[in-house]
């Protein structure tokens, strides 16, 4: 559901997923004792990794909420009134991605379910705009989740119209005091807005504003302009209750969050290890380099999920040999985290391809970003070859063309329009998808780059 969340867990290094227990080479002395301790520490490490993995990969309700106490109370009160008093409501939770919307809702629901007056007194319907792509699917899903399809019996669920009438009928029958309240959670709310006529939203909001079965509609979205997307009748029926989540903490709190996220809980089996680990975390949080790393990340994004990603990368370095996190681990992770993907690709190119890219860079400079074609690039490359004939092998045109097409495949170069059959490949207009600063940086780290090429890259006028 969160596009960024899933890949993060998928990208988790193998060591985190499968805690590797590296057999220690026993020294001559105290073989058995060492073996025992190594087994023990291996156990500890795998425990630590398990805890951290759960914390970072599933943004579950168990995780803590940071800086949203007020929103928490607002939402909890709202849902409590729905369940206890049977009051219908509607609300939107709005906040940028990774600001903890789902976490907040899960948290509230978890606490709500533990309450005595609420238990078993609330029906929940969870919909997701990415899954329920139209109202028909959504209606079926609602019916399924309300377990109304057993009423429908063996009938194959009829047409969309019947479906809607059926559901509206069911909801109309209830009243405030006797029917079980229903909570509708619409994740990716902005996608529901695009359904035809906004029928589903109209009906849900209409029910929430009329004396029928008590319902509360909670929408989760990251779009700040969501209200402008609602149709005027739908908008009028929406209660305009908006809960904004902004990552409004400062850097000090950020460090605190960092500490909390990394610390081991009190109920960790091996207390001494937990003590050691937590001390280390405390130590890390005071370390200058670590703070610099965190500051950098904090300046880029306040999204806690990117912090999780960073810690995940760092945590993957923890092994039996290396049981405690160090500042270097974090630095390394940060470097990983912020590398430029396109520039990375450039590192793996051949010299010819690098030369072509440099030629394109010069063309961009000369023609101020106007698109170019292969012939222009080839001419530019030829000029360079003619000047530096002694240092560069003069490739034939088909070879250069092949290299150019490789760049096209790597999407370092993009055609302006789709290549048609009639147009000659040499004259297709292209754009370079790299910035000159990226090219220069990549050249800095490019292994065994000929000096001539480097000079040519620095200035197109170097032949003068």
């Amino acid at each position: 559901m969160r596009p960024t969340a899933r890949p993060s867990s998928a990208r988790a290094p193998a060591s985190l997923r499968e805690p590797r227990i590296q057999p220690m080479k026993p020294s001559a002395m105290n073989k058995r004792k060492l073996k025992e301790s190594s087994a023990e520490s291996a156990e500890n490490i795998s425990q630590v990794q398990k805890i951290l993995r759960e914390r970072f990969c599933h943004h579950c309700a168990a995780g803590k909420l940071f800086g949203m106490e007020q929103q928490y109370r607002h939402l909890l009160e709202l849902l409590k009134r729905t369940t206890v008093h049977g009051e219908s409501n509607s609300a939107l939770i709005i906040g940028p991605r990774g600001s903890g919307k789902t976490a907040l809702l899960n948290h509230v629901l978890k606490d709500l379910r533990e309450m005595k007056q609420v238990r078993e007194n609330l029906l929940e319907v969870h919909l997701n705009g990415l899954l329920q792509t139209n109202d028909k699917v959504a209606l079926k899903e609602i019916t399924r989740q309300l377990q109304l399809e057993n009423v429908v019996g063996d009938k194959v669920f009829g047409s969309f119209a019947e479906n809607l009438a059926f559901l509206l009928e069911a909801l109309r029958k209830g009243d405030r005091t006797s029917s079980c309240p229903i909570l509708f959670v619409l994740d990716e709310f902005d996608l529901f807005v695009h359904h035809k006529n906004q029928t589903l939203l109209y009906n849900l909001f209409d029910i929430s504003q009329s004396a029928q079965t008590p319902v509360t509609v909670i929408g989760l979205t990251c779009r700040q302009d969501i209200l402008e997307l609602l149709e005027k009748r739908v908008k009028s029926r929406f209660s305009h209750r908006q809960i904004y989540l902004t990552n409004s903490f400062d850097f000090k709190q950020y460090i605190k969050i960092f500490k909390k996220q990394l610390s081991l809980p009190d109920e960790f089996p091996d207390e001494s290890f937990a003590q050691k680990w937590n001390n280390n975390v405390q130590h890390l949080s005071e370390d200058k380099t670590v703070q610099a790393v965190l500051q950098n990340l904090f300046h880029h994004t306040k999204d806690l999920r990117s912090l999780h990603l960073l810690l995940m990368l760092a945590g993957s370095a923890v092994t039996v040999h290396h049981p405690l996190l160090t500042a270097a681990d974090l630095q390394e992770a940060s470097r990983h985290h912020s590398t430029d993907s396109k520039a990375n690709i450039v590192h793996g190119l051949s010299v010819l391809e690098i030369c072509l890219i440099i030629a394109m860079k010069h063309l961009n400079e000369v023609y101020d970003g106007e698109p170019f074609n292969f012939q222009m690039v080839y001419n530019e490359f030829q000029k360079f070859i003619q000047r530096k004939a002694h240092s560069m092998y003069n490739f034939e045109k088909p070879v250069v063309m092949k290299a150019f097409e490789h760049l096209l495949q790597l999407e370092l170069v993009q055609p302006l329009e789709r290549p048609s059959v009639r147009a000659q490949r040499e004259y297709l207009l292209m754009k370079l998808l790299l910035d000159s600063s990226q090219i220069m940086e990549a050249l800095q780290v490019y292994p065994n780059c000929p000096t001539d090429v480097k000079q040519w890259a620095a200035s197109s006028l170097s032949w003068l």
Binding site: S178, S239, D340
Partner: protein, 861 residues
């Protein structure tokens, strides 16, 4: 055989005119003959007979007593009737008054005024039996004859149920007795065909078995089947030809009847016979119980059976013998009448556990006969029905079977047998039994939507989207009781909820009066009309209209107005504009059909006059969503009220004032007419009044606080919903902020906070809480915009500014990947509008808010 030709009915007067009025050129008659041309059957209905009259719903014809027959000046045959009403015709909320279970066969002596008792004679279907009973009296065990015998215990005058007055009671009794006499006396002209078919048939079967009169039997069996489906065909024919003005356009029947008429050609004809069988046997039952004295006399004709009838094994042997005879006849006739008997017997054997006979009753010819019927579920249902009936009284069954088979003069016997059931029985049994056996039972089962005045609290009648299992969707009930408001603020919140229905709608008195007068005048005149109501959301359009309907229903209940039925559709609650037809038809008749079919049926319904039809008030909410390219739906909706007999009043509601001019074709707009009303947005005074009227008696708000909300909302939209929502939110904030247990009322501060929460722009706050690099990115955008002079830039252009800004701030300049991440994050929040990300550096970026706003948000820091 052509069904239509066959079932053409001719209505003619029976006897000479009693007296005639020269001036009015009317003449009265004592009876009417209904002749079916094709089957050469005649039925006579006399004054005082109980009859079935075609109604809106063919499954539920109206029950009435024929009071008068006359021919008016225009040579139209008219009938004056005394109505009886079924339970389904009584409003749901009134049914509770009965405080007892009502069987489907119980009707009520109708004393409701306002029904048209003068009907076209052509709508009479057939005669039936209505027995008056005392209130305490048990219903006679009706098992077989239930489809055409009705019972009346109480009268219904639209408000309450009363015990039948002795006068009425005796009159009804009288009528029943009289009819017995009449039927006897009228025997003379009844053609011999008018018999219960089975008796005739079985008789003929026996005869044919003994005398081998095959052709004769064939004809008769045809007769019986054709007769049996006569009522249906008649219906369908009317629908098709529209020659007689019936209010009931029933395509559904057509769906049924073809299968029947087709089946007639095959061995499947048995089906019809099967139905006839059980139904015609059925009438014997009540008479058998009631007229024990008479029984011996008629049984005399068949002495050998009676002693055996109790002894089941013997009797089954008898039937087995009979069957043997039948199976012999079967060889002659292609119609394999044996089928139903064997079917019946099968059921019998199941009951009697005489398995030895099962093998016996398996003639090889049975299997091919079975196959076509097994395809039809209705046949299965019928057999189930038979099983039920037979299980209840198999003895009588045998008796009758033996009676008829042994009696040579079965006609007389039949009349003695059931003097109260007139000649038309087969027909009547047919029309009632069919729905049971038809596949459309799902349509039949849902209770007809109450047609008179529906419940007050729930002005909408249930739409009954029933499934075949008759399931009613329901949200589970809550386990713990809902808490009642404990504090003043909670009470206020409850009252301020939009769903809370106030006693009156303040500030819409004028509009209310206008709409009320419009509908009332149309109701009184019995004509139709349209009204278009417009207004921005939240101005109380729907609420006012509902209030009007509520008041009208009240008035109708108090008999100040003629009764009417109320239907509501909502464009937003339809998946497709054409579904409107389906929903309207379902409201009116309880039928569920496809959209195109519903349109045809509705057009018929509204274009033909019908007895007993009430005015329909139709609310069309969110009219603009019924727009289609051809505007068929709108055209039809607004065309119906202009029909002479439609009695349809439409209140169309939409948001825009000029909707008719803007989206409707001329022909649609012209039909909509010029009766328009527009609801102006509420002024702040009105909003204030609305809030304070809801809070009457609850001291929860400061006066000024309410005024502030009202002024704010009035300035923005005039939406009452918004106003109430803000007030409700303010109570929450107040409760949130107050100290422990100190009573608090909502003050200005709370209201201001609520308003800010709802109306403040989220962008500024979002920018302020963005990370440093995101803010720098926004600054870079501003710088690029300023440089280029256009409000659009590519990421690459912004990137250069960005790097420069980072240098100024002394920050490490980020990589392009990070820039892209920042850009997509801001794009997801819609602070920026961005292109598809595959263009990478050449992706174009635009701000989704004004530059000033961004500047303002960034400068504050």
């Amino acid at each position: 055989m052509n069904t239509r030709q066959q079932s053409k009915l001719i209505y003619s007067w029976y006897g000479k005119p009693l007296n005639s009025d020269r001036k009015l050129r009317t003449s009265q008659y004592t009876g009417i003959l209904i002749t079916s041309e094709s089957t050469k059957t005649e039925a006579c209905i006399q004054l005082g007979d109980f009859i079935l009259v075609e109604g809106v719903n063919a499954d539920q014809p109206y029950v009435a007593q024929l009071m008068d027959l006359y021919e008016d000046g225009a040579q139209h045959k008219r009938a004056v009737v005394q109505w009886f009403c079924r339970l389904e015709e009584i409003p749901q909320n009134k049914r509770k008054l009965l405080k007892r279970e009502i069987s489907a066969q119980e009707v009520f002596f109708d004393q409701v005024l306002g029904y048209d008792t003068d009907i076209a004679a052509e709508t009479i279907i057939k005669s039936i039996m209505v027995l008056p009973l005392h209130l305490g009296e048990e219903l006679p065990i009706i098992t077989l004859n239930r489809e055409q015998t009705f019972y009346v215990r109480q009268s219904w005058d639209g408000k309450c149920f009363k015990v039948l007055s002795p006068d009425t009671f005796s009159k009804l009794k009288e009528a029943n007795k009289k009819r017995g006499v009449i039927t006897n006396s009228s025997k003379a002209f009844i053609p011999s065909d008018i018999l219960t078919p089975v008796k005739r048939e079985t008789g003929s079967v026996v005869r044919s078995a003994t005398k081998s009169k095959n052709p004769d039997m064939e004809i008769e069996s045809k007769h019986s089947t054709s007769k049996s489906s006569l009522a249906k065909e008649r219906h369908s024919q009317r629908v098709a030809n529209n020659d007689i003005k019936t209010p009931t356009a029933r395509k559904k029947l057509e769906l049924n009847s073809p299968t029947r008429s087709k089946s007639r050609l095959l061995g499947c004809e048995v089906l019809g016979l099967l139905d006839d069988d059980c139904d015609s046997i059925a009438p014997l039952e009540p008479s058998a119980t009631k007229r024990k004295v008479k029984f011996p006399s008629e049984i005399l004709g068949s002495p050998p059976k009676i002693p055996c009838s109790n002894d089941k094994s013997k009797s089954t042997i008898e039937t087995a013998e009979e069957r043997q005879r039948f199976s012999e006849t079967m060889q002659f006739s292609p119609y394999t009448k044996v089928k139903d008997f064997s079917e019946k017997d099968k059921n019998l054997h199941e009951k009697d556990d005489i398995l030895s006979l099962v093998g016996y009753q398996k003639p090889s010819s049975q299997i091919p006969v079975l196959t076509p019927r097994s395809r039809r579920t209705c046949a299965q249902k019928t057999s189930a029905l038979i099983a039920e009936q037979i299980s209840m009284l198999d003895q009588e069954d045998f008796q009758s079977g033996s009676d008829s088979s042994y009696s040579s003069n079965s006609e007389e016997e039949e009349d003695d047998d059931m003097p109260c059931t007139p000649e038309k029985k087969p027909k009547s049994s047919r029309i009632f039994s069919t729905p049971k056996s038809s596949r459309k039972s799902a349509v039949h089962t849902p209770a007809k939507t109450p047609k008179k005045t529906p419940l007050q609290g729930t002005p909408r009648t249930p739409r009954t989207p029933r499934t075949p299992r008759n399931a009613t969707p329901e949200i589970p009930r809550r386990i713990q009781a809902a808490q009642e408001p404990a504090s003043v603020l909670e009470e206020a919140r409850l009252r301020l909820h939009v769903s809370a229905i106030p006693e009156s709608l303040p500030c819409r008195e004028e509009e209310f009066q206008d709409i009320y007068n419009f509908v009332e005048s149309k109701l009184i005149d019995g004509t139709g009309g349209c009204m278009y109501i417009s207004g921005v959301p939240g101005t109380g359009k729907t609420a006012t209209v509902h209030e009007v309907i509520r008041c009208l229903q009240q008035a109708a209940e108090n008999e100040e107005l003629p009764p009417f039925q109320f239907v509501e559709i909502n464009g937003m609650k339809l998946t497709d504009p054409h579904q409107a037809y389906v929903q309207i038809l379902e409201f009116l008749t309880g039928q569920k059909v496809t959209a195109t079919h519903a349109a045809v049926l509705l057009a018929k319904l509204f274009s033909t006059p019908g007895p007993k039809r009430k005015t329909t008030v139709l609310i069309v909410d969110e009219l603009d969503l019924l727009w289609t390219r051809k505007q068929n739906v709108m055209y039809n909706l607004f065309d119906w009220p202009t029909q002479k007999h439609s009695k349809l009043i439409i209140l169309a509601i939409a948001n825009t004032m000029d909707l008719p001019e803007r989206i409707m074709m001329n022909r649609v707009a012209s039909r909509l007419g010029l009766t328009r009303m527009s609801f102006q947005p509420y002024t702040y005074k009105q909003l204030q009044q609305i809030v304070s009227s809801r809070l009457k008696g609850v001291k929860a708000f400061e006066e000024d606080a309410v005024q502030l909300v009202s002024r704010k909302v009035a300035a923005l939209s005039g939406d009452a919903r918004r106003c109430l929502d803000i007030c409700r939110r303010a109570t929450e904030i107040c409760e949130f902020a107050r100290q422990k247990r100190t009573p608090e009322i909502v003050r200005m501060a709370h209201v201001t906070e609520a308003i800010d929460e709802m109306f403040s722009s989220p962008y500024v706050n979002a920018i302020r809480n963005a990370s440093l690099h995101e803010q720098i990115f926004l600054k870079a955008i501003l710088a690029e915009f300023r440089r280029a002079g256009i409000e659009e830039a590519t990421v690459q252009q912004i990137y250069h500014h960005y790097v420069a800004l980072c240098r100024v701030e002394g920050l490490q300049s980020p990589t392009v990947s990070e820039i892209m991440a920042i850009c997509s994050r801001l794009g997801a929040c819609r602070l920026l509008l961005v292109e598809a990300s595959n263009k990478y550096l050449h992706m174009r970026v635009r701000l989704n808010l004004s530059q000033d706003d961004v500047m303002y948000a960034l400068r504050e820091e």
